[in-house]
Symmetry: C2
Subunit: 199 residues, 2 copies
Amino acid sequence: MTSTRPLRADAARNRRLLLAAAAEEFAERGLDASVADIARRAGVGKGTVFRHFATKDHLLAAIVLDRIDALNAVGERLLKAADPGAALLEFLTVAAHQRQQRDLSFLQDAGELPAEVTRARAQMFHTVHALVDRAREHGVVRVDVTGADVILLMCAPNYVTSYVPDASPDLWQRYLAIIFDGLRPEGAHPLPHPPPAAP
Amino acid sequence: MTSTRPLRADAARNRRLLLAAAAEEFAERGLDASVADIARRAGVGKGTVFRHFATKDHLLAAIVLDRIDALNAVGERLLKAADPGAALLEFLTVAAHQRQQRDLSFLQDAGELPAEVTRARAQMFHTVHALVDRAREHGVVRVDVTGADVILLMCAPNYVTSYVPDASPDLWQRYLAIIFDGLRPEGAHPLPHPPPAAP
DNA sequence: TAGCAAGTTGACCGCCCGGTCCGTTTATCG
DNA sequence: CGATAAACGGACCGGGCGGTCAACTTGCTA
């Protein structure tokens, strides 16, 4: 157990400022936003960043962890929703909405993330699998798609809209709808390749 | 007009080696593959890279231009194919297959690309619009999707599979199929957002 | 309010990158 | 061949990055 003595007031404030600034900076400039810029945006010195987060990756991980946890809470709730199809769609909508900006994708890179992130991510994968299974059993998702498929596709709407220079911030909804229609059983054509085992 | 005296034999060979090495390196490491690594892989000095290509971006542009031109040739042919639905699917298949590896996406970044690339890209966009229009008129693509939608979605299969660590090199086919089913009129639900004007 | 640990800071370090430059090598052609 | 311009290569440069550190400031507590 880490015996966490509470943070000093200014330190706690700076930590919050840093997380907010980093989220904005990553959103605008992608993962190679510089630590110096993040510090400037937060109004603190660069050294302060590294007092709170061992490395730039740890800072990123803290942000990502927050988001995954939030998503997990939503998923947990939706598992008990009445309409399994609507529940899955809502989950994907919340996920896309939350990651409205640049990618950050929490699936990614496996650059040896802290164990907490790995665990939260695994939990999210589990939730998605459950949501998909339930939707499939109710016949609102085609029989040949798996949770892994949905996990992979769930980042696509944000990705494709990132190429539109002055896109409406809601454009991703259009592509989520198209992809979701592709997941439905009506008019489904057989898939040419088995699903991945991984996620 | 650039009065192009023919390249010396060794220079021409090195140019080819460089393009090949750069394509592989970009494929493996993404757009931030280093010029030094590319040179090493091609078996030439770093200075030679810049003799052939003014900047790293010009090198990238040369590769991208090749691919877009190849794609345009395919598109041109498919515009005269008998089955418009199969033609569109084949075009997207060729596009995805060619970009099997990492992204490079030719839509992207607008980092002031050379005029040739911009023009070739515009021509490709035009071709896609035509393919989509023809497919829509034949009722194999839903009425509410546009060429711009397909252009955006066409990179998604490669993107999503890039997150699977040891994916089969053909996994993208699965997601192209799902997305393509989403483009079909059968079982289509109305789209929540107008299409983008841009591409 | 005094003392101290906790927190802050920005100069600094080493690294790697894209790009330059010039001494050297080499394909080409009269 | 031998002369010459084209091509080559790698040391070198400036800049920006992630990360460190020691001197300084400040919130907490007794």
